[in-house]
């Protein structure tokens, strides 16, 4: 009998909507030990690359490995910071410029923990999670995004 938690599925199809974010915030109003929330939202930019404008990013992932890595990152953050709650969602498939592709949400009694945790999580996600982004231009051609 294993007590290990199965990794949750972090991925959602398509963009993350403002309504989903509002619902998630509202769910925390019963948790009256929370004093601060820090939310990071990644939004797709209409970057200009070699004279062409990005109209969307088409996300794919090595899902089993990505969910396992998200799980490890979450566990590490719970160890490092005194958090009440932590939620992470990432898009798969097409996300248009201006839409949200990443939602990282941490909550804590005091602001220091949520501030540091959200930043830690975003940096870890960018460097460790196997998610791939095809930047699609207005003319249908594409290039591949690479995190710095």
């Amino acid at each position: 009998m294993s007590t290990e938690k199965k990794p949750k599925n972090v991925f959602v199809q398509g963009p993350i909507t403002p309504e989903k974010i509002a619902t998630s915030i509202a769910h925390h109003q019963v948790k009256t030990n929370i004093g601060g929330h820090d939310i990071f939202l990644g939004q797709v930019r209409a970057d200009e690359i070699d004279g062409k404008t990005v109209s969307a990013i088409d996300y794919t992932a090595y899902e089993e490995m990505a969910n396992q890595t998200f799980h490890e990152i979450r566990e590490a953050a719970f160890e490092k910071f005194d958090l009440t709650c932590m939620h992470i969602y990432h898009s798969l498939g097409r996300v248009n410029a201006g839409e949200i592709c990443l939602f990282v949400f941490t909550s804590s009694a005091h602001r220091k923990d949520c501030f540091e945790a959200t930043r830690y999580l975003v940096e870890e996600i960018k460097t460790k999670v196997p998610v791939f982004g095809k930047e699609v231009f207005e003319d249908g051609s594409h290039t591949w995004k690479e995190n710095k």
């Binding site: 996300y59 992932a61 090595y62 490995m65 890595t69 990432h90 975003v122 196997p130 995004k145």
Partner: protein, 78 residues
């Protein structure tokens, strides 16, 4: 040994497929790199990582039959 290999992102594009099978006679990840670079044009000058069983593997890591192999281009999450 016969290895099943997954390709992602731009590497899947170069490979023309998201899955491939490879007849591999070596043992280490370094040897696997050489083998795969022979098959996928452009890969030898690209930046990529190899995951073995969902974990990024160092060049010294040993590959055994049944391992899940994935060839990962640079990450772009977030």
């Amino acid at each position: 040994m016969k290895l099943n290999v997954k390709y992602f992102g731009m590497i899947a594009e170069w490979a023309g497929s998201e899955n491939g099978q490879l007849d591999f006679s070596g043992t280490s990840v370094a040897e696997l790199r050489c083998e795969i670079e022979k098959r996928i044009p452009g890969l030898n000058s690209a930046s990529y990582q190899i995951a073995v069983n969902h974990v990024v593997a160092a060049n010294e890591a040993i590959i055994t039959l049944g391992d899940e192999i994935a060839i990962l281009p640079p990450f772009a999450g977030g």
